[in-house]
């Protein structure tokens, strides 16, 4: 005996799952100031951002020579936390959205 296959009532969704919205990353930027010592800035980058000595020096020199350096990129909340901590160390740090370069 054959049994007719039941008619399928399952609707096939043609809607594709929405792709996550690409979020524009936030940048933590440190600007130059004439006051803080180079060795101090290197130490702060190592302590706050976990940079190696070489990476810390590279960013410190970028701040010194170009006036600013992007020291971290990512989600807003963490960017704010890093900027706040860098400011407690008296560095001229701020956040900006990628592409909003001042």
């Amino acid at each position: 005996m054959s049994v007719a296959a039941p008619k399928t009532t399952k609707k096939t969704s043609t809607r594709k799952k929405a792709a996550p919205k690409p979020t524009t990353p936030w940048l933590v930027v440190v600007c130059n100031d004439p006051v803080n010592l180079m060795s101090y800035v290197v130490l702060v980058f190592k302590k706050v951002l976990g940079f190696t000595e070489a990476k810390a020096r590279k960013h410190m020199l970028e701040v010194h020579k170009k006036g600013r350096s992007v020291v971290w990129t990512g989600e807003r909340e963490r960017a704010e936390a890093y900027a706040h901590t860098l400011q407690t160390w008296q560095l001229a740090a701020h956040i900006e959205r990628s592409g909003d370069g001042r």
Partner: protein, 156 residues
Amino acid sequence: MEDKRLELKLPAPVVGPLLEYLLPLARETGEGALAFDPDLKAIEADFRDDWRNDLANQSQDDQTRFAAIFDTEEFRKEGIAEFGPEDCEPLLRAASALRLKLRTRKLGALADSALENGEIDFARLNKEEQTAITAYMLLASLQEIVIRHLDPSEDE
């Protein structure tokens, strides 16, 4: 980090007047403890006051610790200050805050390049500026000592 205590010895006759000059700055409270105007343009407006207050409180704590370490009979008489590893980071931040305050409030007439390169004609400064620049340089020396203590690989 080294966990031994650090002893700083400075000539008492020199540091006494500088201490008297720095202590009032270090004891400022509230907004006065903020050494610079933080760039909060990208921070939500509702959050900015809390952010500034938090920075001011942190900076005030650091500068209060600085004052407590140096405002002692021993430092005034002998020029000796002793502090532990737990004091190093607050001291560094406080010294940075005090240098920023000196720069904006007392040394505004000096060019950034002169300060960065140490090209300062001491004789051309007025009395107030001479005291301020001496305190400014003393704080830098203090920072260098503490940085070497925290990170012996740092050799600038």
